[in-house]
């Protein structure tokens, strides 16, 4: 088996890590912040590069730190693009010159790690980072003894122990290992173990692995929690958010429910109080107070907790949109990820000065992504409700154009008429599927996909979208079959 290893992990091939403005800035000037054409042009030149299979390169492909600072690859590339012409370059001039400039430095080794830029581009490593390099590891032909692990192949014994620890939260016992060693079909036994562990308290219980996976999406604050385990200023019950998240990740449920559900979920328990599964809440079930009308619900984005925490007192709920991008699409707009500027934006309806060059880079994406949240009450009006007159009633003094702010907006470059449509576009995107898988990849492997693992990673999220109909548990059965997981 030949595997490629990176000295440092790098998720470079995802659209949501795109820094189009940043990459453009490398090639133009620091004043020319927003020109999202370079990543696409790069992928036109190298359509088979791993960085282009699931999206576009990240800003770090040409940048070091905060743009417009360039890494060595970016510097080499910039020097080859129409060097005699005055900066900033015209977009069309730049696009015309980029392919030739890329070709001219293909044989160079910009980062000095011993691999040419072309080799690195085609293997999915960073040509501007000497710690990212395509090391070839030849397992076949190696000699030696390892009586505990099959270090060159998917090792069922290793996978069995790992599945038990990852999903059940404990090692197998000596007796369980003895029984496993007697199994006629070890791989099937590994999957049987996974199936059993997926219902374990360690995995689905309160404060279990799935629950903890939701922490950074929900960002709980006990002091303002309502209901069970409530705080001193009870505003909303985030347990509903956790339960909806875990519901969407378990059994045969659809992972997209985190964005699209118009219902809430409850935990069902056995006689000992252990959670056995999650189910849609019925009228007989007790949930926290949730006042959004069914037709305006958009999963975890419209729970009372999310609106209280992320809309709060703002006319234009940018934080709510940014948090949704982070939580469900894996894109942090504040880090120049997922930028897809909308022409004519930002309008600056709330008079915050976001049309300044340094602001518009992000706000040309963020503001139109935020408009669909505008009628959802946070801590103003009737808390946690949908109110079509919210802006007119509560925010008239937020700017002379504030009442002209539309509910229509954009997400991932697509126009949407309201938040439920926003949720549907996002939930059906490649970005959502890949971000969903990435969370489990990180949880179970402890790192982002390496260059050698990109193919398996891409297959996982594509299959999640396709054959597995967004069922996370089926994806997890695929994940434990990967070399990334099962080769010691």
């Amino acid at each position: 088996m030949v595997r490629t290893r990176q000295a440092r992990s790098a998720v470079t091939n995802m659209k949501w890590t795109l820094g189009p403005a940043a990459l453009a800035a490398v090639l133009l000037t620091s004043e020319a912040w927003a020109l999202p054409v370079a990543p696409g042009a790069f992928c036109d030149a190298y359509p088979d590069a791993p960085t282009c299979l699931a999206g576009l390169p990240a800003c770090t492909f040409c940048h070091a730190g905060t743009p417009p600072t360039r890494n060595r690859f970016g510097e080499a590339l910039e020097a080859k693009i129409l060097p005699a012409m005055t900066r900033p370059l015209d977009v069309n001039d730049f696009l015309g010159a980029l392919p030739t400039a890329l070709e001219e430095i293909e044989d160079d080794d910009s980062d000095g790690d011993g691999y040419s830029n072309l080799d690195e581009i085609l293997s999915g490593t960073h040509p501007g980072d000497d710690l990212s390099r395509p090391d070839e590891i030849e397992c076949a032909g190696k000699t030696g003894i390892n009586d505990q692990f099959d270090v060159c192949n998917w090792d069922a014994r290793y996978a069995f122990k790992k599945v038990s620890l990852d999903f059940c939260g404990r090692s197998p016992t000596w007796e369980e290992m003895q029984a496993f060693d007697a199994e006629a079909d070890p791989r099937a036994a590994v999957h049987a173990k996974l199936t059993a562990c997926l219902d374990s308290p360690f995995w689905i219980g309160q404060d279990g692995q799935l629950w903890e996976l939701a922490h950074k999406k929900i960002r709980p604050i006990q002091a303002i929690k309502a209901g069970e385990d409530g705080g001193i200023i009870p505003l909303a019950d985030y347990y509903d958010d956790y339960r909806l998240f875990v519901y969407a990740q378990t059994d045969d449920h659809d992972a997209r429910d985190v964005l699209t559900a118009d219902f809430f979920a409850v935990a069902r328990t056995d006689s000992d109080g252990n959670t056995t599964h999650y189910a849609r809440a019925t009228g007989a079930d007790r949930t926290g107070r949730q006042d959004i009308v069914t037709e305006r619900r958009a999963g975890m984005m419209t729970t009372r907790w999310n609106l209280v925490l992320n809309v709060m007192f703002t006319a234009l709920p940018r934080t709510a949109a940014a948090q949704a991008y982070r939580s469900f699409l894996g894109m942090d707009i504040a880090k120049l990820q997922g930028l897809d500027p909308v022409e004519g934006e930002p309008v600056d309806y709330d008079d915050k000065g976001v049309q300044a060059d340094a602001c518009s880079v992000c706000h040309s994406t963020l503001d139109p992504a935020s408009y669909p949240f505008k009628n959802y009450q946070g801590l103003t009006g009737s808390v946690g409700t949908y109110d079509p007159n919210r802006i007119e009633d509560d925010f008239r003094n937020e700017g002379v154009n504030i009442t002209a702010m539309p509910e229509q907006g954009y997400v991932l470059g697509q126009p949407v008429s309201n938040l439920t449509e926003w949720a549907n576009v996002a939930a059906n995107s490649d970005a959502f599927a890949a971000a969903s898988v990435l969370e489990y990849w990180r949880l179970l492997l402890g790192h982002d996909p390496l260059a050698s693992e990109q193919e398996e990673f891409n297959a996982l999220w594509n299959t999640l979208k396709g054959r597995h109909s967004y069922q996370i548990e089926k994806m997890l059965h695929d994940l434990i079959d990967t070399e990334a997981y099962g080769v010691p």
Partner: protein, 228 residues
Amino acid sequence: MFRKTLLIATCTLLFACPSSEPSEDGGPTRDGGPGSIEDPNRDGGTTVTTPSFLASEKGSVRFKKAKRIEADFATALGLSEVCTELGQYSCSDFIHRITLGGVEAYVQGLNEPLPFTSVTTPLAVERMALFACRERVSADFGNPSSGRIFLNLPLANGALADVEAEEVAASIQRLYQRALLRVPTPDEVEHHRQLYRDIEADGQPNAARDWAVLSCHAVLTSMESLFY
């Protein structure tokens, strides 16, 4: 004095580990490569060559963290409660939770584990292991015929009457099977026996009990036990 014997135990067990170079992240080690290596143990001045150890090229292992460590210690030692501080605060769920890679989202706002283990992580692990091992040994020594690990040891005035006794080897084997899911190598058994000899030579009044606790501690705090 107990600290001194703890040091002896640690050094003894470390010496039992195969020779290897440390990896960049301080994790498991990598040896090997094609061919064979020279065994540092020489027999009558003649170098003995043994096949090289075929190491994982990935070298990717992960710290078990609080919940898994507690569960594994509990299972290995047959305990319902692994460790409490001041007799009432759970080591893994409360006192050392963050240090051991856990989170505390609701009050502290720590929504994700720390990316690295902290300088106090080894101390917390050792406290948990020591607490649990003392519990196990107390139970086993209190009821020698029905203990979980240290069973029917040949005791005489707090010492092992015969460190070569089969019951000693059987106890070590049970410890390895329950904690590491494998049988110990002959070298490992001998190192544990040597640990006892060192403790006894130190003049400890309860040499057998100290040895049992420290043997347990050494195995539970090994890299093989704490990483996966």
